[in-house]
């Protein structure tokens, strides 16, 4: 519920900003036509209503049906199912954000230095971060994957991949 409230507030701020951008769009010049503002305005209105609803909403528990244990006393124990709450492993968001950040740096390098260098760098650092402490192994693996994909697309299928704006 607490998360929902925070998300609802963030959404309402976003909706306000987007609504401001919408007011800057030009009016229609065609008779009968609602113009470019209309559709975004309707969506934003609906989003605002549902964001407010989200503020007061508690999520249902995410459940899954699982087969009950065979030791269950019921006669049809083997086929019986019971509803249990799904428990997914939760990883710290900060660790995920670090991986996203490194990937983003890799993408930026793709723009400047090209696909091969950008991807080899991004993937190597990501692999190092998740525990591939042997740098040569991480670099070799990243280079092998990147160059194999480059060979497939750029050479075989003639689909050009980013060369890098600095080259």
């Amino acid at each position: 519920m607490k998360h929902n409230r925070i998300i609802a507030v963030i959404l309402l701020i976003f909706i306000g900003w987007w609504a401001y951008l919408t007011t800057q769009l030009p009016e229609t010049t065609m008779p009968g036509e609602p113009g470019p503002k209309f559709f975004p305005a309707v969506i934003l209105g609906l989003m605002a209503v549902f964001s407010v609803l989200l503020f007061f909403t508690k999520d249902k528990k995410d459940t899954a049906m699982v087969k009950t244990d065979e030791t269950d006393d019921t006669d049809d124990a083997e086929d019986a199912e019971k509803e249990v709450e799904k428990k997914e492993e939760v990883f710290p968001i900060f660790s995920a954000l670090k991986l996203f950040a490194v990937f983003f740096v890799g993408i930026v390098l793709v723009y400047f230095l090209g696909f091969n260098i950008g991807m080899i760098f991004g993937l190597t650092v990501m692999l190092w971060m998740i525990g591939w402490r042997l740098f040569p192994r991480a670099i070799l693996f990243s280079a092998a994957v990147t160059l194999a994909v480059y060979f497939l697309f750029d050479w075989l299928l003639k689909i050009p991949l980013p060369k890098g704006s600095l080259f």
Partner: protein, 499 residues
């Protein structure tokens, strides 16, 4: 008619035709299975190669790509959790969950069977009642299309998992993303922030790749990081490539039939296409079986039957009226015209034998796709034997290429990244991703048809209720949206009465 059929048989049953059909099927499956490529790309690449072919060989190779592509999209959806084509987006939900449960072979087998079922069903409809369906489909103007697409959008309710409010918000956000770029009626720039690359809007494939692939990759990387000090566990899981048994085929029959009918009908309506049909079919499956969405085989059967139902459906307006239903049939229309064939009622009169040859070729293509996929399935599942981190690293590189290769636009890689980041947070905070994708698929069509309808009616909203087709679809959409509220109200009443 029998003369034409026999002549059609002699045209279709040539070695040259068989070779090109086979080549088209393989190419379509491969292009659709790789998230970086789409079968539309394969169709475009093939057009120049068809110049020197006979008309039937040219059409056969393109139809092979079309049917193979619709089927092949399920491979990466099920095995990697990334839809190979927009039409395979609905297959990801249950297909990938089944793969996680170690049932990838079962899911792939059922996907292949359902695809071929949908393909053959739509072919029968094409042969038997194409002119009648074409007459109905052609009556779908902007008003009816708007209502149909709104009806399609109302399926977000069943895709909303644990929170309907969150599902609706995700769907609305998808619609909002569609407003970025050029306005569909006046051509004005909206929310482009001065970036020329945003004028074409937010691409569906980069968003789909980012939202489905990146959260999965990051979670797998974090899992590997957490387990790095533990002794290595043998990850190899025994995945058998299973083709459905006769009993499973029987059980799936009704759903296959319903989904194929939805695919064929939606495909026959110009301006709709595979993704809408697949989500509508998935909604039907979910209503019949609430376990759909949690890794149930029905969630693979319905979208796969529907997307191959679209192949025959889209050919109905193409062959009978000369109107392409989607981008793939538009490319095929071009190929037909290059070979001096003008689709429409005259095609049946002037080239009847060729039309029959096309029908026969489609039937052969469907069986070819079945055979190729059945043999290939044993190879496809081997992907899951690759250690998770290695596989995820490969997918990460493919995600970058996949986003870029569609439009050769660097901005699409950035879109993929931010879509992935958003998808990660959505997943963490219980927002379903599929409604957002559905919003993105349908948004342009909803706005475009709504505004065009109002231009026709001089701004009167009454146009949406005066058309009976539109009225029916809008009522159905409202009922679908209100269904959970009505259901809970009825349950409460029942509980009160019981007390």
């Amino acid at each position: 008619m029998l003369d034409l059929f026999i002549e059609g048989l002699s045209i279709a049953f040539t070695l040259e035709n068989f070779i090109f059909m086979f080549f088209g099927c393989v190419l379509g499956i491969v292009f659709a299975a790789i998230p970086a490529l789409t079968f539309s790309t394969a169709l475009i690449l093939l057009i120049p190669l068809t110049f020197g072919l006979t008309p039937i060989a040219a059409i056969s190779v393109l139809l092979g790509v079309f049917a193979g592509g619709m089927t092949g999209g399920s491979i990466s959806s099920i095995l990697l959790g990334i839809p190979g084509t927009p039409s395979a987006a609905a297959t990801v939900i249950d297909g990938y969950l089944l793969a996680k449960k170690g049932q990838a072979g079962k899911a792939l087998g059922m996907a292949i069977y359902s695809s071929v079922f949908g393909g053959i069903f739509s072919l029968l409809v094409l042969i038997l009642v194409a002119p009648q369906i074409a007459k109905v489909a052609i009556k779908f103007g902007p008003v009816e299309l708007f209502a149909l697409v709104v009806f399609g959008f109302s399926t977000i309710i069943s895709l909303s998992e644990t929170s309907i409010v969150k599902g609706i918000l995700a769907g609305l956000f998808g619609l909002l993303l569609c407003t970025i770029g050029l306005d569909p009626v006046m051509g004005l720039q909206r929310y482009t922030f001065g970036f020329a690359n945003l004028m074409t809007g937010v691409g569906l494939m980069p968003v789909m790749i980012g939202m489905f692939a990146l959260p999965e990759i990051i979670d797998n990387f974090l899992q590997a990081s957490k387990n790095r000090h533990k002794p290595p566990v043998k990850q190899k899981q025994q995945v058998k490539a299973n083709f459905p048994s006769l009993k499973e085929m029987k059980e799936a029959f009704i759903l296959n039939l319903q989904a194929s009918a939805i695919g064929t009908f939606v495909g026959a309506i110009p301006g709709t296409g595979g993704p809408i049909a697949c989500f509508m079919a998935l909604d039907v499956a979910k209503r019949k079986n609430p376990k759909v969405g949690t890794g149930h085989i029905d969630g693979v059967i319905a979208p796969e039957s529907a997307n191959n139902g679209v192949t025959g459906g889209a050919l109905i307006p193409l062959l009978t009226l000369g109107i392409p239903g989607d981008s793939a049939t538009a490319i095929m229309l071009g190929a037909l015209m290059i070979h001096g064939l003008v689709p429409g009622p005259l095609l049946f009169r002037d080239n009847g034998a060729l039309v029959y040859a096309i029908f026969i070729s489609i039937l052969i293509i469907n069986f070819m796709v079945l055979a190729i996929q059945f043999i290939g399935m044993k190879l496809f599942v081997k992907v899951l034997d690759i250690p998770k981190v290695n596989l995820m690293s490969m997918i990460l590189v493919m995600a970058v290429v996949g986003s870029f290769a569609i439009n050769l636009n660097y901005a699409d890689i950035v879109v993929m990244f931010f879509a992935g980041l958003l998808g990660y947070f959505m997943k963490k905070f219980g927002f379903p991703i599929v409604p957002l994708i559905l919003g993105l698929v349908l948004g342009y069509s909803i706005e475009d048809n709504f505004r065009k309808s109002l231009v026709f009616s001089d701004g009167s909203l009454g146009i949406f209720v005066t058309s009976p087709v539109s009225l029916v679809f809008l009522i159905l959409a409202v009922l679908m949206l209100l269904a959970p509220t009505i259901r809970s109200w009825l349950n409460k009443n029942k509980a009160k009465k019981a007390i």
